[in-house]
Amino acid sequence: MNRNISYSSLLEKAIIILLIIAFLLFILYPIAGLFVRSLTEGGQWSLFYYKDLFKEENIELIRNSVFVASLSSICATILALCIGLYAHFKGGRIRDLIYRGLMISMISPPFISSIGLLTLFGRRGLISYGLLGLTLNPYGWHGIVLLQSLGGIPLSAMFMMAGLNQIDSRLILASRDLGANPWQTLKNVILPSLIPTILSVLFLRFTMNISDFTTPVIIGGRFNVLATEAYLRVYAQANLNGAAAMTVLLLPPALVAFYFYNNNLQKTNTLSDRSKVLDVETLNYKLPRLVNFISGTITLVFFIIMVVQYGNIFIQAISRNVSGKLVFTTDHLHFFQDRHLDALLRTIHMALIAALLSTLFGVMLSYYNRMRRIPGMKSIEFIGSLPYIIPGIFFGLAYIVVFHNGPIKMTGTLIILIVNCTFRHVSVGNKAANATFENIDKKLEWASYDLGASKLQSLVTLIFPMLRPTFLTSFINAFTACMTTVGPLMLLVSPKNLIISVLMFSEVSNGRYGQAAVMGLSLILITFTVNLIAMALMTREKRITR
């Protein structure tokens, strides 16, 4: 008996150590490697690239970045709040419908919206010019704000709905019972209770927006932000060290925002009282008329834009836009079939493996940190969240810098893409598992030991099965992210490991929207299918456990 136990606990120790090594090796080491590189010039230690980091133009860039990121984050948060409120208090089928709609609109890569926006609202856009005869100039900060806001809405609104769902509905009853009308209740109870959620959404968006370069590249026009500048240093000027130095400027605001995000997320988890007497249907609370009207309109407009956008992607895929007129063609489809099918298959292959691994690692990390409280795992968890925070392109560069020779030479292979994607999205599964563990009775694990199961046996027979729904959701999210990620992979691709999202981004930035639309469509279809399968698995799961 004793021997068995020590064998299994040895095995577990080995797993923990491997886990730690993996995080150090595939996250910390590359980032440190890139950082060190940026501190050298011609093989010598030098602050050359940091010297003029704070010159006036860069200060301007920082200002631009913070301005745009703040504005789009605030817009996205407000709009998402409206949609969340509307959906939540409508309840019933409308609520479910909106939720599904949000899930679907989440699966398109963000920069694909720009195709829609430009062909619809560009200077010769189908709507702005073709329909209304207007000549709009979408290029500039307002274009970035618009796109980043739109792109941020789906996830944020889903957060809001979750947050609203956590509010003890009795508080709303109590407020009205104490004489507060719906508006006073909204202002004094609902919104204050939602503050942690609102803040965490705000900060998450800020973190994402400030390091987003794809949107500004495509629609920023003459308006430059830090992330684009850093991207251009790499992409156009081959000034890799300078770009790395520039990321250092991006890090502090991103880290600060992420810190607040994390902090507030924890609050949302602990404030909630899960025993609820009434669901929304019986709650009988209706949003104040004006709020209801405004948020309803916003919801409607958002979904119209989404429908138009998706429809437009579809139309783009089978047509050319010639000065505001549409001409149908199958050229794009043929071209795709000839040229990009391989890449698509490769992308699916990569995303499946990476999503699986990243979910697994994320959950294990969370398990050892939250449930087992193994010392040091907290720091590993922080390391795990780094790739999510730092601009993607640098996570890619960092990989090239450290994995191009030596014992772990991976450049030019599919493996490097898989590993990169795995660790880039590892915090998705990690966060989800953290939230789940928050709700799992720690005693369950004790019970398992008490009944004679070793730690590893408990992990396999107890923890993993209980986490299955979390696994599935994180897997979907990670898969979606892997399918659509561009930043870190852009420089990791070579002829042998070309993937579809990178191809698509290069088509978009070349203005060849038709090709990009076909690729976008294929991505959306596949992600959607995988989502459907996973959701079907999940509802089956629910049926079993109910």
Binding site: D168, R170, L171, L173, A174, S175, R176, D177, L178, G179, A180, N181, Q184, N188, V189, P192, S193, I195, L271, D273, S275, V277, L278, T282, L283, N284
Partner: protein, 319 residues
């Protein structure tokens, strides 16, 4: 007559809900709705509070039908099962909330006025405390103060003590009664704990599956239950039948055991609970539960042959 419920009906489906509920409540009365889980107590309160819309029937308050008013327009206030205190406000702000919106005070004045009520429930010194830092009993008092502060003429209380431990429960019961006496508020109290119902109420409404079974004073309910359901719900009972087929209930505490070697009852089971000892006596098929109080319970042992003396029994009306 502060409140009158006439034929109030709200069914969620065929089985669940409340049907044909008729009740008249006098000003200053303490009424308890008593019944097992799921019998419709909360539903009734929610109908009065305005959180649910009745299918049919009337809710008259001081003679006026308030059925169609929203909760915020009803002069009724609810103390919720888990208090539903606002976690983002402190004690004083919680109590001031109702004053502000119900009595339409300015925020500043409301806070001032709230102090009196915080004092009333004995929480002076806790004005600025965070709700999360209060004990269950303190939270319960804040909830009470918050509801009373609205000046509502009718207070609805939904199992306000059910999450507390026994000692605290007994203590707060007394306090609640005391506050009611002071403020003369009419209260409708919901519980499934018969001791609570019996000790607090002027009148008790015993409910079963959405229907009223009996309305009466505590002693009426306990000693003159209309049927075995009520009898069983408010206490333990032995059921006896006499030769004529009349049914009686016999409370275990209204029986004495008499030492009598060769008596016709045998002590089959004995549970020592400190303040009393519970016995089960058997005479062939007949089983009688007897509770002996205190030291009196010490005198008998398992297997003893004894006899019994009936101190009181009450006749049941139903078959």
């Amino acid at each position: 007559m502060i409140l009158e419920l006439k034929n109030l009906t709200k069914m969620y489906d065929d089985k669940n809900g409340v049907a044909s509920f008729n009740l008249a409540v006098e000003r200053g009365e303490f009424i308890t709705l008593l019944g097992p889980s799921g019998c419709g107590k909360t539903t009734t309160l929610n109908l009065i509070g305005g959180f649910l819309q009745a299918d049919s029937g009337e809710i008259l308050m001081e003679g006026k039908d308030i059925s169609s008013l929203p909760p915020e327009a009803r002069k009724v206030s609810t103390v919720f099962q888990n208090y539903a205190l606002f976690p983002h406000l402190n004690v004083l702000e919680n109590v001031a909330y109702g004053i502000r919106f119900f009595r339409k005070y300015s925020k500043k004045k409301a806070l001032l006025a709230a102090e009196e009520f915080v004092h009333l429930v004995g929480l002076s010194g806790y004005e600025k405390s965070n709700i999360g830092n209060l004990s269950g009993g303190q939270q319960q008092r804040v909830a009470l103060a918050r509801s009373i502060a609205t000046g509502a003429e009718l207070l609805l209380l939904d199992e306000p003590l059910s999450n507390l431990d026994v000692a605290l429960r007994t203590h707060l019961r007394k306090e609640l009664k005391e506050i009611q006496r002071k403020t003369k508020t009419t209260m409708i109290y919901v519980t499934h704990d018969q001791e609570e119902g019996l000790s607090l109420s002027d009148r008790i409404v015993v409910m079963d599956k959405g229907l009223i079974v009996q309305i009466g004073s505590p002693r009426e309910i306990y000693y003159k239950p209309v049927n075995s359901y009520v009898a069983d719900f408010v206490g333990k009972s032995n059921f006896l039948e006499d030769e004529k087929g009349n049914q009686y209930i016999l409370r275990p505490e209204d029986v004495n055991i008499i030492e009598k070697p060769g008596g016709k009852y045998i002590i089959e089971q004995m549970v020592f609970l400190g303040h009393r000892t519970e016995y089960i006596l058997r005479n062939g098929e007949e089983k009688v539960e007897v509770h002996l109080q205190g030291i009196r319970g010490k005198d008998f042992n398992l297997g003893d042959s004894v006899d019994i003396e009936i101190l009181f029994k009450s006749k049941l009306n139903n078959g």
